[in-house]
């Protein structure tokens, strides 16, 4: 009501107007009635007077005809009546004039009344409309308030959740002693925590000011090229994780290997990256261990093969140049020595393949058309396939992202096994298929060979595990172990479905975004 202050005076005004109109109307109506009554009375009186005079004159008429004088008394009576009549007429005129006024005022009163009623009606309609509008507005306000309350409640819940999450994250970070960084991409502001500085032997204060050049101040320049490339890749496609390893110079001067991982955690509605968060982990020890392993592999490759080559070479020369001077037994000894050296050489070769599987030697992940890869392998194994009259059926295969050399080795090993583990005289039938399993690609290599007993299906993946003597089926016991290692490096799994005498199905998966 306060919003419409004009309402009350309008209401009172129209009511006053109505009362006044009613008063005028009633008052003048009554007066008008009274005057009308009076007029009617006077008119009646006049009619009586005229009638009486007329009759009187008619009575007197014969006398007048006889020229008889009309007595004065009679005339006086008639005169009186006539003057009365005149008087009445005058009053009548007066009264009619007064009545005119009454009628006018009466009409005025009716008009006032009508006006006030009209006014009230219009006013009420307006008022109603206003009320309606007002109620609608109020309803909206109420809803808005409700929404606001709910939002605030939700927000406080979210806030609580956020605080809880933040606490938990802090506990995790403290507990794991993880070094973290936070990069506001919009304004370039970088935040590191204390551990970040500790990793390279500093305190956070010592490396101030912290900005986008801080990292390159400590990181190895050779590694930064790759880091920058990976960061911009991640900024282009925020769904991806950023991961890089690089060296950072420790306060004491040595290099520290850092595993740096992060992700865009906030983007604008347009999809521009706003905030990136990540961690640093010191993997120097891991790197050193890895390097030691690779060095070990290198030693195995060169230093061990060297003496082995000596054994086999001179055994062969002995056999070639002096066989006439040796008896059968001596030549047999030479044969065993040479056979042993050859097997050991093959073993070293495979051990190397195992050690390098998934390592840097395997190359970087690239897009590989598996159809083409299998064609290459088919050509490579051409001789063996021909010899055994094998039927190698290759289905439609996808193009996947993987390390080429190791993946090729997996297929080569599996097809090699399918060819090798066959009963004598059996014609090998090998089927290779692939299917899309959403997050993974699944491949299977099926054969009609001797199969693997259920109790051995896990064991065959162990290093140096062999189920047969070398006279039955030769082998180093490293083929499937190497496959398993490679598949696991590709975020996949490898398993066996097989029943003895009914062949083997070797199935493996490869993670799609490996």
């Amino acid at each position: 009501m306060k919003r419409y202050p004009v309402t009350l005076p309008v209401l009172i005004g129209s009511i006053l107007l109505m009362v006044a109109g009613l008063f005028f109307f009633l008052r003048n109506y009554l007066n008008h009635q009274q005057v009308n009554k009076e007029i009617a009375l006077i008119r009646a009186a006049n009619t009586e007077l005229r009638k009486a005079n007329l009759e009187h004159l008619l009575e007197l008429a014969p006398t007048a005809d006889s020229t008889q004088q009309i007595p004065i008394t009679e005339l006086r009576v008639i005169q009186n009546r006539a003057s009365n009549q005149l008087e009445n007429d005058r009053r009548l005129t007066n009264l009619e004039k007064i009545d005119q006024t009454y009628i006018l005022i009466n009409r005025f009163g009716i008009a006032m009344l009508a006006c006030s009623v009209l006014f009230l009606i219009v006013f009420n309609i307006l008022q109603f409309k206003r009320r309606y509008k007002l109620s609608k507005l109020q309803e909206q306000d109420r809803q808005t308030m409700q929404l606001l309350r709910e939002t605030l409640r939700d927000k406080s819940l979210v806030q609580e959740d956020l605080i809880r999450e933040k606490d938990r994250l802090n506990f995790v970070l403290e507990g794991t002693n993880a070094a973290t960084w936070e990069w506001n991409i919009q304004n370039g502001q970088l935040t590191y925590n204390e551990t970040w500085a500790t990793l390279i032997g500093y305190t956070l204060d010592e490396i101030q000011p912290i900005d986008q050049s801080t990292l390159s101040r400590f990181a190895h320049p050779e590694d930064m090229v790759e880091v920058n490339k990976k960061v911009s890749e991640c900024l282009r496609d925020h769904s991806q994780f950023y991961e890089a390893t690089y060296r950072m110079r420790h306060k004491n001067g040595h290099w520290v290997w850092i595993l740096d991982r992060g992700k865009v955690v906030k983007s604008s509605e347009e999809g521009d990256p706003l905030l990136m968060f990540g961690t640093h982990v010191d993997i120097t020890h891991l790197k050193e261990t890895n390097e030691e392993l690779t060095r070990f592999a290198s030693v195995a490759s060169h230093e061990m093969r060297e003496p082995l080559r000596m054994i086999s070479s001179f055994m062969r020369l002995l056999d070639k140049n002096y066989s006439e001077q040796l008896d059968k037994k001596a030549r047999q000894y030479i044969h065993y020595a040479m056979d042993g050296a050859e097997r050991m050489s093959a073993m070293i070769q495979e051990l190397l393949a195992f050690a390098h599987a998934g390592g840097v030697q395997g190359g970087k992940p690239e897009w590989i058309d598996c159809n083409k890869l299998l064609q290459d392998i088919k050509e490579l194994l051409h001789g063996q396939l021909e010899e055994q009259q094998a039927d190698l059926q290759i289905g439609m295969l996808p193009t996947i992202q993987a390390r080429k050399t190791p993946l090729k080795l997996v297929f080569q090993n599996l097809i090699g096994n399918a060819l090798k583990y066959q009963s004598t005289g059996n014609r090998p039938i090998i089927e290779i298929k692939a299917s899309d399993e959403q997050t993974h690609w699944q491949f299977s290599v099926k054969d009609n060979g001797i199969g693997i007993a259920p109790e051995n299906r896990e064991a065959v993946f162990q290093l140096f595990k062999r189920l047969h003597t070398k006279h039955e089926y030769s082998g180093s016991g490293m083929g499937l172990a190497t496959c398993k290692r490679i598949i696991e490096q590709h975020g996949g799994k490898i398993w066996i479905e097989s029943s003895e005498n009914k062949g083997t199905i070797l199935t493996f998966t490869i993670l799609k975004t490996a």
Binding site: S298, H302, E306, R309, M310, S312, R316, L317, S345
Partner: protein, 141 residues
């Protein structure tokens, strides 16, 4: 007939024997000198004691894994020395690593050969080497 002189830089006695026998089978080389480590190879070329009386070789067979100074260092020394850089250097080694191969060619090795594991194959390679460098190729005199 012109005397053909080869310097074999190799630390493994077995390989020395094998290479020597293979070269002799080719019947073109009639003088084989041996240096058993990198330093010895340089001393040989520089005519330092005990190599004062030696002649410069026509060809050098150089292993990579050598004591004291490795094959790459010896190669670098030869190919940066005015007096020796004309001598063809053949890397003959067990290593097949890309790092060794690339580094050798960058340092102007004339060719790089990984020693075959099979002894017959090794003999064949050495005989072919001999034939190529001393029958087909014209060397500086």
């Amino acid at each position: 007939m012109k005397s053909i002189h080869v310097l074999l830089v190799e630390d493994n006695e077995g390989d020395i024997l094998l290479t020597r026998e293979a070269l002799e089978e080719g019947k073109l080389v009639n003088q084989i000198s041996i240096a058993r480590d990198g330093k010895e190879a340089i001393d040989f070329l520089e005519k330092k004691a005990p190599f004062q009386a030696t002649m410069l070789p026509d060809l050098i067979l150089l292993d990579v894994n050598l004591p004291k100074k490795n094959g790459h260092e010896v190669l670098h020394f030869i190919k940066t020395a005015e007096a020796y850089k004309h001598i063809p250097v053949i890397m003959l080694t067990t290593s097949s690593s890309f790092k060794d191969i690339n580094s050798s060619y960058l340092n102007h090795a004339n060719c790089y050969i990984t020693k075959p594991v099979e002894v017959e194959e090794f003999f064949r390679v050495v005989v072919q080497l001999e034939n190529f460098w001393f029958n087909i190729v014209k060397l500086p005199s």
